[in-house]
Amino acid sequence: MSEIRATTISNAAGTGPATLTKQSAAKVWISVNQTGTQAIRNSFNVSSITDLSAGQTVVTYSSAMASANFAVVVSGNPYNFSGSTGGAQSADNAQAGGTKTASRHSIDLRNNSNVNTDNDDAASAVHGDLA
């Protein structure tokens, strides 16, 4: 087994991220408790969240992505959707203040009656290239 202990890994020039052969590291991930006062449970490369409305959270990054064409996936705790086993999930909120940009996206969670509903484990991950 080989092991490396390091605080930062960068490319050979020391100016950017190292290329990972046949794999890609998430550039942002977050778990949010939307119930009550919305709070970050755990995160990476997230500077802040904004409570838009029930079930809706804007996630703002510490370091921006290169463009808005990154891939973002979302999920929520299905047991938070009353009377349902799952809910509609949207990663790109078109409402004012929630538009996806290189430095943010929004989580939009709804129940199966299409009603935005707070979730205690709203999670999301972003893949792509940092600016």
Binding site: M1, A12, S24, A88, A91, D92
Partner: protein, 117 residues
């Protein structure tokens, strides 16, 4: 160019070692289903196939080792996403609107975690 081959990594201050491979995505894609379906950005994706309205097969450049990988999805505003089935070299994605009808969306995204073949 310099290359590293390692199995585990850990903070310099100590702490738990992490497998350098298992927590990394092996593929991801952002595509637009509206009009002529098109990839907007991707990693380890060879192509997408427009199956029908709001239904897309995403094909991998490098296969996964088996079909038991994790695929997580997201799509544009007010939609829900479903996995139509996955093979070692592809995964199918369907997008429904709030009325549970197939409807094309922009920013349709998939993240795949697991082991490459």
């Amino acid at each position: 160019m310099s290359n590293l081959r390692i199995d585990n990594i850990a903070p310099s201050a100590g702490g738990t070692y992490t497998n350098a491979m298992s927590g990394l995505a092996k593929a991801w894609v952002n595509f637009n289903q509206i009009g002529t379906q098109a990839i907007q950005d991707s990693f380890n994706i060879s192509s997408i196939t427009d199956i029908n309205v709001a239904r897309t097969t995403v094909n991998l450049s490098n296969n996964m080792s088996n079909i038991n990988y994790s695929s997580v999805m997201g799509a544009g505003y007010n939609s829900m996403q479903g996995n139509m089935g996955q093979l070692v070299g592809s995964v199918g994605m369907a997008v429904l609107n709030s009325s549970a009808s197939y409807e094309d969306r922009n920013d349709s995204c998939i993240q795949i975690m697991g082991d490459l073949a």
